[in-house]
């Protein structure tokens, strides 16, 4: 089975621009979570979506938003980019939301803001 896929792999944006990152979960998985990982740190939780509804939200500003589609894929949007948004953005899928099912991560999207 294919794992979690993310696109694009790398992205370079300018301050103030907007970006959209995409994620396709493992087949059969209905929940998608988004994490931000700054170099040298562990991933930080941004959102979890389950059955197209937001179920969890981390301590990120309203510039960050996401949605989940009927096929369970997801998009993460970041508006008004700041230099500090430069990071590896990780998508993780799990069978359901919330319960202690394992979250399987994709390869990530490396975002650089200049």
């Amino acid at each position: 089975d294919a794992g979690v896929t993310q696109s694009p792999t790398h992205l370079i944006k300018t301050r103030g621009q907007q970006v959209t990152l995409r994620c396709s979960p493992i087949s059969g998985h209905k929940s998608v979570s988004w994490y931000q990982q700054v170099l040298g740190q562990g991933p930080q939780f941004i959102f979890q979506y389950y059955e197209k509804e937001e179920r969890g939200r981390g301590n990120f500003p309203d510039r960050f938003s996401a949605r989940q589609f009927p096929n369970y894929s997801s998009e993460l949007n970041v508006n008004a980019l700041l230099l500090g948004d430069s990071a590896l953005y990780l998508c993780a899928s799990s069978r359901t939301g919330g319960a202690s099912y394992e979250q399987y991560f994709g390869p990530g999207t490396r975002l650089t803001v200049t």
């Binding site: 562990g42 969890g56 991560f105 994709g106």
Partner: protein, 114 residues
């Protein structure tokens, strides 16, 4: 607030030299503790889930254990291909905006020399 602290920050071993990585945590009701391996520039790879104190899981040269306050990842006779960053994460009892959230430590960078 849930917290995870990993030690040491970095560990250098000779091939065959066994050792342990530590993950200390504070969480309001543990639902699960997860270990991941992360290679440079890639997404975390799932290794183990532990649910209750006293539980142990093994996979090849790795063994994870759990107490009420910490978890250990024991590496027996490591090989150079075990070199990676090892991440520990906890999931708290679901509630509010933390639904589905994994709280990660900063990771331990393991280097195994031949």
């Amino acid at each position: 607030e849930d917290q995870v602290t990993q030690s040491p920050e970095a560990l250098r071993l000779q091939e065959g030299e066994s050792s342990s990585l530590n993950c200390s945590y504070t969480v309001s009701g543990l639902r699960g503790l997860f270990w991941y391996r992360q290679d440079p520039g890639k997404g975390p790879e799932f290794l183990f889930t532990l649910y209750s104190a006293g539980e142990e899981k093994e996979k090849e040269r790795l063994k994870a254990t759990l107490t009420k306050k910490e978890s250990f990842l024991h590496i027996t006779a490591p090989k150079p291909e075990d070199s990676a960053t090892y991440l520990c994460a906890v999931q708290a009892e679901a509630g509010g905006t933390s639904y589905g959230k994994l709280t990660f430590g900063q990771g331990t960078i393991l280097t195994v020399h031949p």
